[in-house]
């Protein structure tokens, strides 16, 4: 797999405040790469730096293994923060400006507008657009030069559920064409539904990176319910090998354990110790919990 983007020791300081700290990342062709982190974790700053609008304090990055960034700009389609266009110009005129900057064929404008479903509104002024339409127009603008890579900063931010769904389907259909997509979001659900790989940021530091499966694997959680007290369950299960956490939430006990531990084994141990389970199920570990765990620690 060829590398699309390599980030080395990228750092951004605002005075004493470190927005991004020594970030190392590699993104390969064909990945849908999620940059995940709470607000203020340095996602937008990182994307701003790799897009050339924010000057890094130190470190470097290279697109397509080329040392010269200026020549690759036009192969990268991007949205940074909210959609930005000239408010008094129509959608078509705005895209014409972008198309001329990217030096691509003006015929592409109608194609991308059709793709995001805005062709019928192409002569309306940008300021009359709803937020969902603005986001889709921004995506259209990013697609203008048919780039190999898309950088999307919070593409579903502020959209209603229908808008989120539309946007997600659009992004997935673009990914199907084999393009590399970098998405930042603070919505874990979003990343989990769309991405193949993820990097988790916290206060500018890279906490974890890898494929979604790799981050989620190696760990599972059982949920169980019994008439026995939580303390009793805890004392019994704590002695077992491979148990990582035990906690009580409302009337369910959550038992985190390593991958090799089987439900049958857990049930047997409990029964042998006089605990009769009325409920035992594999809890679907979501990225959200994993993320919250990582961020908390």
């Amino acid at each position: 797999m060829s590398q699309v983007l390599r980030i080395k020791n990228l750092t951004k300081k605002y005075g004493n405040f470190i927005a991004v700290n020594n970030l190392d990342l590699t993104i390969n062709k064909g990945e849908i790469f999620g940059v995940l982190g709470p607000n203020g974790s340095g996602k937008t700053t990182t994307l701003g730096m790799i897009l050339g609008v924010i000057n890094q304090t130190s470190g470097s990055f290279s697109w397509f293994d080329k040392p010269d960034f200026e020549n690759c700009r036009k192969d990268i389609g991007s949205i940074l923060e909210h959609p930005i266009f000239y408010p008094d110009l129509s959608a078509y005129q705005n895209l014409e400006i972008a198309a001329r900057i990217k030096e691509c064929d003006l015929k592409r404008i109608d194609l991308v507008l059709e793709r995001v479903g805005l062709l019928s509104r192409k002569d309306s002024k940008f300021k009359t657009y709803s937020l969902g339409m603005k986001q889709r127009l921004a995506l259209a603008s990013a697609l203008l030069s048919n780039p190999e890579i898309l950088v999307l900063d919070e593409p579903t931010n502020g959209l209603d559920p229908q808008g989120i769904n539309q946007m997600r389907e659009l992004i997935l259909s673009i990914a199907d064409e084999g393009k590399t997509i970098i998405i930042s979001s603070h919505l874990l659900d979003e990343i989990q539904k769309m991405c193949t790989h993820v990097a988790i940021l916290k206060k500018g530091n890279l906490i974890k990176t890898g494929s979604i499966e790799a981050i989620l694997s190696g760990k599972k959680t059982f949920e169980l319910k019994s008439d026995a007290t939580f303390e009793k369950i805890k004392t019994v299960l704590e002695k077992l090998q491979g148990i990582t956490s035990i906690k009580l939430e409302s009337d369910l006990t959550f038992v985190g354990c390593e991958d090799h531990l089987k439900a049958e084994y857990l049930n047997k141990v409990c029964f042998e110790n006089g605990i009769i389970l009325s409920h035992l199920a594999l809890h679907n570990a979501s990225l959200e919990e994993e993320f919250l765990n990582i961020v908390k620690s």
């Binding site: 700009r73 000239y86 110009l89 005129q93 990217k102 030096e103 603008s141 030069s145």
Partner: protein, 286 residues
């Protein structure tokens, strides 16, 4: 260069204040240049005199470009300041760069735009100058009779010929071009430094006032030789104010463009562009 101008044109298309301000310049410049001298009269000892009436070809060219220079200082510089600060308030600077402009490209697009606008404005002023000089020639009104002027110690009437002198026209239009370009580049620098419209306009004018005060102080200490090379003073002396004490015999040509003045102005423009570039590259594009 064509690409940059095309893109700037597309941006301007949706900008109504740009259209309004340009229209004001296009309509009011010829109106003021042609009608003000014949309307503005002073009754001197029972005789109507027209102190603003140009009496020579160079006077006519000087008057046209001088009036136009007030337009470039106010209205046309506004256009530039708001065109650029709007890019910051709408964050489109950043979008342009994300879309594929380099920072150099963005700066180039603005410099090419002001260069183009300065050329167009100078050509328009030249055309207005041709019409105005033909009009003043046909008007042939003498500001005063020789008898009257004798009382003020003037022994001959100002030369009332040579209207339409093309060489003078080119020279004054060139001075006008240099001056408007200089004002524009100053406007670009101020707007890209401050990034806010109203603040930039206020600062732009404050700079003129501050320099005036500063120069006045230095001049009082006998430092005229230095102060005449100050940037804004150099720009405005491309088309200097007329000498009110000489107005009695109609508008005479003010100081013509000198090579020294042109060179000093161009050097300042280069410095301003480099400063703008330095600021723009040093900062994050927000």
């Amino acid at each position: 260069m064509k690409k940059f101008l095309q893109i700037e044109y597309l941006k301007i298309k949706g900008n109504n204040s740009f259209k309004v301000f340009s229209l004001i310049f296009i309509v009011f410049l010829p109106l003021i240049v042609i009608f003000l001298p014949s309307v503005f009269k002073v009754n001197l000892m029972g005789t109507d005199t027209y102190p603003l009436m140009p009496t020579s070809a160079s006077g006519s060219w000087y008057f046209t470009t001088y009036i136009a220079s007030w337009f470039s200082l106010f209205i046309l510089s506004f256009i530039i300041i708001f065109h650029i600060t709007n890019e910051y308030s709408a964050k489109t600077v950043r979008q342009n760069i994300i879309d594929g402009y380099s920072k150099t490209d963005f700066l180039k697009s603005k410099i090419f735009m002001v260069l183009f606008m300065a050329i167009v404005a100078a050509i328009y002023v030249f055309l207005v100058g041709v019409v105005a000089s033909l009009y003043f020639k046909s008007h042939q009104s003498e500001p005063m009779s020789l008898e009257m002027l004798k009382q003020f110690g003037v022994t001959e009437l100002p030369v009332n010929q040579l209207f339409g002198g093309v060489f003078d026209g080119v020279l004054f239009s060139l001075a006008y071009f240099l001056q408007i370009l200089a004002y524009f580049i100053l406007a670009v620098m101020v707007s890209m430094f401050l990034r806010k419209g109203a603040l930039s306009v206020i600062t732009y004018f404050s700079l003129f006032l501050l320099e005036l005060i500063f120069v006045g102080q230095l001049n009082n200490n006998g430092m005229e030789k230095i102060t005449s090379y100050f940037p804004l003073r150099s720009f405005s002396s491309l088309l200097p104010n007329f000498d009110w004490s000489l107005l009695i015999s109609g508008i005479q040509a003010g100081g013509k463009l000198t090579i020294l003045n042109a060179v000093v102005s161009v050097l300042y423009m280069i410095v301003f562009v480099l400063v703008t570039k330095f600021i723009f590259f040093k900062r994050d594009v927000i």
